[in-house]
């Protein structure tokens, strides 16, 4: 068998940059760029401003969601503070005609996607499994089983291609989920069918408590792509400019009929896995503060301010919108949702089975008896 040779060795064009792509360093200055294939152009100031604004709003809503959980309004909330560059940047690089496949941690990605925050949080509030219309938003329900949504993304992307559309699918996962079998099956299916999927791994260093070193011996998770014949890249996931630039390249690659693309974004979850987790059991305060110094939001804000693209009035304007949206979310989440037990049987099948009809009648009678007792 002949292997595909590229300059630099076997299939080297598929390999990621040896160091994560970074356009803005943690201080908000332009980072030195390589001249090889891993050179990416800095996105326009206008687009970076748009990402920055999305991050300001996304972070505020994320913080608000954590607060709502502490007040008992959400059953659970997996925060993503610190990962906003990934979630906002990746989503802003796709269009409405593209698909998105989020996990439970992608609340900020969903807010960015234009899903009503209340609908995005419905799953976590506990009144329904999915609060938004996945078809209308071309956004799959938030996936809790790990990596299973990636094969759905491959199928949807292939389906779009079969329909003659140039839509792509953006599928999110975390570092731990790359150990799951469906991650590998999805990469393989997408590659074999040349399905336009962008696999976006947010490597936030921990799968709940298990550090990446116990998860994988790969030099970087982005190296997992080459085995499937998938072009891959690793990026500084706290650099919004790098996220946008590499996502642009990935979208162009996939939309252009070149098959899937794998991105590993190195980032960090500043909060615990969820409100129910105690992160101090598995990571040090020093480690967390070191990552705080790499914050994606302040990094981009510094760059935009220094370049004269953003002034105090601009910051105040964005912060005001974020406050208004957080207040709106708070108000609407404080309203007690109406849930109807009789809806339980509505969407199991298009037509309920006789057995479900029988159980439905039983529940109806129980509810009737309860209301009689209360009357």
């Amino acid at each position: 068998m002949e292997t595909t040779l590229a300059p630099g060795g076997v299939a080297a064009h598929l390999l990621p940059s040896p160091r994560p792509v970074q356009l803005l360093d943690p201080d908000g200055s332009l980072a030195e760029q390589p001249t090889d294939a891993h050179h990416y152009e800095l996105p326009s100031a206008e687009r970076l401003l748009h990402v920055w604004r999305g991050m300001v709003i996304g972070r505020r809503l994320d913080v608000q969601s954590t607060a709502l959980t502490k007040q008992g309004r959400l059953a659970v909330y997996p925060g993503s503070r610190g990962q906003e560059a990934c979630q906002v940047g990746a989503v802003q690089a796709i269009t409405e005609r593209d698909w998105m496949f989020p996990t439970y941690r992608e609340s900020v990605a969903l807010f960015t996607r234009g899903v009503d925050p209340v609908e995005a949080l419905t799953l976590l509030r506990g009144d329904a499994h999915c609060g938004y219309d996945p078809i209308a938003h071309k956004t799959a329900p938030q996936c809790t089983p790990l990596s299973t949504q990636l094969v759905h993304a491959a199928g949807a992307a292939h389906g779009e291609k079969r329909r003659g559309s140039d839509a792509v699918a953006l599928a999110f996962i975390g570092d731990g989920a790359t150990s799951e079998g469906d991650f590998h099956e999805a990469l393989n299916f997408a590659a074999v069918f040349s399905a336009p999927v962008i696999f976006f791994v947010q490597n936030n260093k921990y799968a709940i408590s298990v550090p990446l070193a116990k998860q994988s011996k790969a030099p970087a998770l982005a190296y997992k792509g080459i085995g499937y014949g998938i072009r891959s890249e690793q990026i500084d996931g706290n650099d919004p400019a790098a996220v946008l630039a590499v996502m642009d390249a990935a979208v162009e690659h996939a939309r252009g009929g070149n098959g899937p693309f794998l991105i590993e974004a190195h980032t960090y979850r500043m909060d615990a896995h969820t409100n129910a987790d105690d992160a101090s059991r598995y990571r040090t305060a020093d480690e967390v503060s070191a990552w705080l110094a790499k914050d994606p939001l302040s990094r981009l804000q510094t760059y935009l301010t220094a370049g004269g693209h953003l002034d105090d009035a601009g910051v105040r304007d964005a912060e005001q919108e974020a406050e208004e949206r957080a207040a709106d979310l708070r108000d609407r989440m404080n309203a007690e949702p109406q849930v109807d037990p009789m809806s339980l049987f509505d969407h199991v099948f298009a037509e309920p089975t006789p057995q479900q009809q029988e159980q439905r009648a039983m529940v109806q009678a129980e509810l009737h008896a309860e209301s009689e007792e209360q009357a």
Partner: protein, 338 residues
Amino acid sequence: MSTITMANALNQALRDSIAEDENVLVFGEDVGTLGGVFRITDGLTRDFGEDRCFDTPLAEAGIVGFALGMCLTGFRPVVEMQFDAFAYPAFEQIASHVAKMRNRTAGKVTLPMVIRVPYAGGIGGVEHHCDSSEGYYAHTPGLKVVTPSTPADAYSLLREAIADPDPVVFMEPKVLYWSKADLELPATTEPFGRAAVRRNGTDVTLVTYGPSVPTALKAAEAAQEEGWNVEVIDLRTIVPFDDETVVESVRRTGRCVVVSEAQGFGGVAGEVAARVTERCFHSLEAPVLRVSGLDIPYPAPKLEHTYLPGVERILDAIARLQWDDVPDLHHAGAGATA
């Protein structure tokens, strides 16, 4: 009329569905050029092109998840799991996603897909090729579970499965792939949710499905010689379940034996026995008995005849239905004193 095997009927159902609806796609392992290891997809790629019937990588979770994704863009995939036990890697996709998608999206996302599973034993298959896995699917809300026992039903039920708006696990009894019937296709039999009375009788009702139907019919003939007039009901669809036909029969006969090749403990046969008891208690002359596979892993081919519920075991069960009003103390624990 021509002589048609169940395999022919299934192949024709796939052909007619592909020809009628441009959204129907067939894919899985070896289903393309080879036509499937049981040749159920024989000639589909040749006649309809690789767009309509294609081979996939060898990964069952991938196949089912990929099919789910294709449903999002309006396709109606019909996927093949090569063998019963080889479908287990896809179980998470089936149980957590395929079965639940309509429900978790409040009806916004529907999955008109069919998962074909050649299942059960009796073909001399080595291990992992003979499992009766229908119970796992039947226990999972959101899946329809269908299993034909005749070529006519194979055709009609598969057409209905492909046209159904919800996911259907279509269990094909391997041992019946080469069973024949004189038949004109297309054929339309009773719809989902209707059991069929395969033999009328007055003394005992045998409730069965899939690979066990011919065995139950043979047992009924043998029972006739012993003086028992046996009715045989073929469930055809386990989900939705036809309580009505089963109950009407058992109330009439007063005795019931459930025959299923799957291991008995926690299985479909137990569910049927419970349903019959709940509904027919006052009509029953004897406890409902189950004749099932043994509660052991499916055995090596040379021992499968001991494992499989055969005519003799069914006749023994019929004989135990308290014809002389003698209590049945055969059961483990039945000798315990109060």
